[in-house]
């Protein structure tokens, strides 16, 4: 074939994908929820990145071990401590920054793991059908009705203090069934669609059908559910830390709330009580808004409400 034609076609192909991306991005950014969520997340991302700075300035600002020698109990905001200190003289602002890091770490890694697991299980169950489907879905049903926070608590009761990675793993292990049910339903409906039959008639193998035809159609949905899973993972970790069962080696926002609550400062130290709570709530909100804006990108029905006929 003529080389020039090939070149033109390649350009067309690139243009097609670029156009599709830009279209989705426009719909996403047109949505105020998407814009607000995105900017909040950028802010929290910056916080997480900045969390490395304070300890470098002065070990006193280390969120966990740093103690201001001049301070013996919690004091309010000052030049040295923008948001004040906690009961033993640690800087609240640097704790808050460190908390952002932990929130992202917990939220994104737990969500990623549970979504990967859920998608794999959902697609397997939906595509294989029969016994595999029944078995996997019964398992999912069983795990789904268990309150995750209490399950992790129970595990803490059995095994003692859990490390942050243990907690992430547990959240991932107990939060996949919701995803897998959705993905399975989607896979089942895709499996019914004639384009799967068409692929089979074209001679496509099962693996090719799964990866080439089903996966591209369920991935957006899996990605959407990841944003919701991030919020639930952050909330579960924070709740666990708040109850005193977090990883004692990390400073998370939930842990900060636990300290202000347990040390009895909550009635005197609003500068300590407010920031971590606001942060948890806002990061949850921003992921949630992100998800809803993404939902709109995925759901073409919402976009064109015109029907001429």
């Amino acid at each position: 074939m003529e080389n020039k034609t090939v070149q033109i076609l390649k350009a067309k192909r690139r243009a097609l994908w670029r156009q599709r991306f830009m279209e989705n991005w426009r719909v996403f950014m047109r949505n105020p929820l998407g814009r607000i969520g995105m900017s909040l997340l950028v802010m929290f991302g910056l916080m997480a990145v900045c969390s490395y700075i304070p300890p470098m300035i002065d070990p006193m600002y280390h969120p966990m071990t740093g103690v201001d020698p001049k301070v013996v109990s919690s004091v309010g905001p000052s030049w040295q401590h923008w948001l004040g200190t906690d009961f033993m003289g640690r800087d609240i602002f640097s704790q808050l920054l460190a908390g952002a890091r932990v929130a992202f770490l917990v939220g994104v890694s737990a969500a990623f793991m549970s979504v990967v697991l859920g998608t794999a299980v959902g697609m397997t169950a939906g595509y294989m059908g029969r016994f595999t489907d029944t078995a996997l879905m019964r398992l999912a049903d069983m795990i789904m009705v268990l309150p995750t926070l209490l399950v992790v608590l129970m595990l803490a009761a059995l095994f003692g203090q859990l490390s942050i990675w243990m907690i992430v793993l547990m959240i991932a292990l107990f939060r996949w069934p919701g995803v897998s049910r959705i993905i399975r339903a989607q896979t089942l409906s895709l499996k019914q669609r004639p384009f799967i039959d068409a692929a089979r008639v074209s001679g496509a193998s099962h693996l090719r059908i799964i990866f080439r035809h089903i996966m591209p159609n369920v991935l957006p949905l899996a990605f959407l559910y990841m944003t919701f899973r991030v919020t639930s993972a952050i909330v579960i970790e924070a709740g666990l830390a708040f109850l005193g069962f977090g990883d004692p080696g990390t400073v998370s926002w939930g842990m900060m709330l636990q300290w202000v609550w347990k040390t009895g400062y909550m009635f005197q130290a609003p500068y300590w009580l407010l920031p971590p709570g606001i942060c948890i709530s806002l990061i949850t909100l921003s992921f949630y808004m992100l998800g809803r804006a993404m939902d709109e990108v995925l759901d073409p029905r919402l976009r064109d409400e015109t029907q001429a006929g």
Partner: protein, 317 residues
């Protein structure tokens, strides 16, 4: 006096890409007890007209020009409250997707009674139920299925239930929007025959919307052929289909396989209908038209009379 007069009707949808003129400059009228078939391909604006006649355009759609007069009342400008009294009482509708037009969690009888009692508030339940039973007999539905839920009905039965509902208040005008599209030929045939029979029995005016010219030719007295939001040819059924003047109608007729007569080669219409967002300067069919001339692209075509009651929107007929 005409039962229904539509004058210079224009309907637009507000879309992300600007105003979409789904219907443009449509005129027709309907005498009581007559039936008018609107035919055309999907997207030609026929369903939009049906919805406008009921005052049921979607939120982003509105009548941009012209008027609709039903029985001496201009319904295109009626306030919502007044319009509500006209609906079903004077104009009833048989929907395109009868399969989904019945509420799945309510019994059939309750749904028909509701239509009656909304407009006859003084009618008690027993009287309304009696009326529903009468309607069931009329459309040939078994009375023992009166209190079923929609999912217990077959497709044909659902369509009959909708027809019964449409007749509940003795409307003067019924709009039938592709009433048989989802049905099998045999059921379709039965329902069309019943519809014709009920129409003459109760002297109802019918606007019959379909993409299938053979059905419209069978059922309707008059035909309006629509293309890209405009009426392009109208007149008595025999005239429009067997003495077609507009190139689009001719193409539509010759691209339709039939059972009777000699087996002729079908002539597919090349190309695609135009995009209706924005303005189109000349004739809308000219890109696909064999008679296309330079002037067609530039000037709006004019209506010509080509026979008794037979009009066509083309400068070359």
């Amino acid at each position: 006096m005409a039962l229904l007069t539509v004058e210079n009707l224009g309907i637009g949808y507000q879309t992300a890409k600007g105003l979409l003129k789904a219907v443009d400059g449509v005129n027709f009228s309907l005498e009581p007890g007559r039936s008018l078939g609107l035919v055309g391909e999907s997207g030609c604006g026929k369903t939009t007209i049906g919805m406008a006649l009921m005052g049921l355009l979607p939120p982003n759609g509105r009548i941009t020009e012209g008027r609709i007069v039903l029985d001496g009342v201009e319904i295109s400008t009626l306030p919502e409250d007044e319009l509500r009294k006209v609906r079903w009482n004077e104009v009833a509708m048989i929907f395109q997707a009868a399969m989904n037009a019945l509420n799945p969690v309510k019994r059939i009888s309750a749904q028909i009674m509701e239509a009656i009692q909304t407009h006859r508030p003084d009618m008690d339940d027993d009287a309304a139920l009696l009326r529903v039973e009468g309607l069931f007999n009329l459309v040939g539905l078994p009375l023992e299925r009166l209190h079923d839920f929609p999912h217990q009905y077959s497709g044909g039965m659902k369509q009959r239930a909708i027809i019964a509902m449409a007749l509940a208040l003795n409307p003067k005008l019924v709009i039938a929007d592709e009433p048989t599209t989802a049905l099998d030929v045999i059921v379709q045939d039965q329902i069309l025959k019943e519809t014709k029979q009920l129409q003459s029995q109760f002297n109802i005016g019918i606007i019959f919307i379909s993409h299938d010219i053979s059905i419209v030719a069978d059922v309707c007295h008059d035909i309006g052929v629509m293309y890209a939001g405009q009426l392009v040819e109208s007149g008595p059924a025999e005239e429009v289909f067997f003495n077609s003047q507009h190139p689009y109608t001719q193409a539509l007729v010759s691209s339709f396989p039939t059972l009777a007569g000699p087996k002729t080669k079908l002539a597919p219409i090349p190309g695609e209908p135009p995009n209706l967002t924005g303005t189109i300067p000349g004739c809308r069919f000219c890109d696909r038209c064999p008679k296309d001339t330079a002037s067609c692209k530039l000037d709006h075509p004019k209506w010509q009379q080509v026979g008794p009651g037979h009009h066509v929107l083309c400068d070359h007929c």
